[in-house]
Structure formats: C-alpha cells, structure tokens
Symmetry: C2
Subunit: 81 residues, 2 copies
C-alpha cells in the first residue's frame, strides 16, 4: 500500500526539554558544531491511493489526532518517498 | 541557522503498539479508509551550513544517539525545506 508521511513538530515558542537534553548529549559525545536539536514526530499512514482527497483526510486526521494543536504544528503531509 | 532534518522509523518487523493504537483510534473517529499507522521520530538539528561533511556528521549522530539501531532505521537525513 502507498503511504502518506505526516510530520509534526513542537511550536517554536514551546520549550522542548527532550530536544535540549539531546543537544547537550551531542556535545558530550563530541559532535561539536551541531546546534540546537528539536524533536517531533513522524507518522506513516498506509492508504489505498495518494490523491488530493486522501491527503486532505490525512491532514485532518493529523490536526485532530496525530498532533496537539495547542503545542504542535503539522509541518508536512506528503506522499512517502 | 539552517537546519538538517533527521527522520527515524521503527524497523518494519518491529511491533509498533503506539501506531496500532492510533490506527484503531482513527477508525473510531470516523477516518474510514486509512490503513495502518506507524509512528517514528523527527528531529531538526541547527547547523552552521548544510554541506556534505555536516550531513555526514548529523547522520553519524542520528545513528548513534537519535535512534536505536536495534529497533529503528534512520530513513532520512536531509536539509530542512
């Protein structure tokens, strides 16, 4: 089955303690020169076909169930590579 | 600062209880016709420049810190849109 990818990230103004912890860990592991890390979610949704109607339905599902609109943004809804 | 996106997904053979729970919830919420959902992680890493060396360093960080190679695959390391 083809798949649609949904990408969700915390809103920029929202504190991301997990991302901050990763940022510090990268420094401790010697990955110098890499800046701030932010962590979000990635979903793959199996669909019958990737068409505009299905993309719209997956976006609606993303905005109601796969993300919390108060603290997260749906940053991408696209056909899987 | 430019950013590099890292996308991590559970290996196909790995059970994804969270994804299964979401799949059932979508059905209950009336999103008919959407198939199996799998959930992974998405990171944004701020970098000084997006070049091959930095992409390679971020991929190395992804494979050592941002994912668990036993149960997860790094499916993409790319410049943010």
């Amino acid at each position: 089955m083809p798949r649609i990818v949904v990408e969700v990230m915390p809103k920029p103004e929202i504190l991301d303690p997990q991302g901050t912890a990763i940022t510090h860990a990268l420094g401790r592991l010697g990955f110098e020169g890499l800046g701030e890390v932010r962590q979000g979610k990635r979903f793959e949704v199996a669909v019958d076909a990737v068409d505009d109607a299905t993309l719209a339905r997956v976006r609606e599902a993303a905005e109601t169930l796969l993300s919390n609109p108060v603290i997260e943004d749906v940053v991408a809804v696209r056909a899987a590579d």
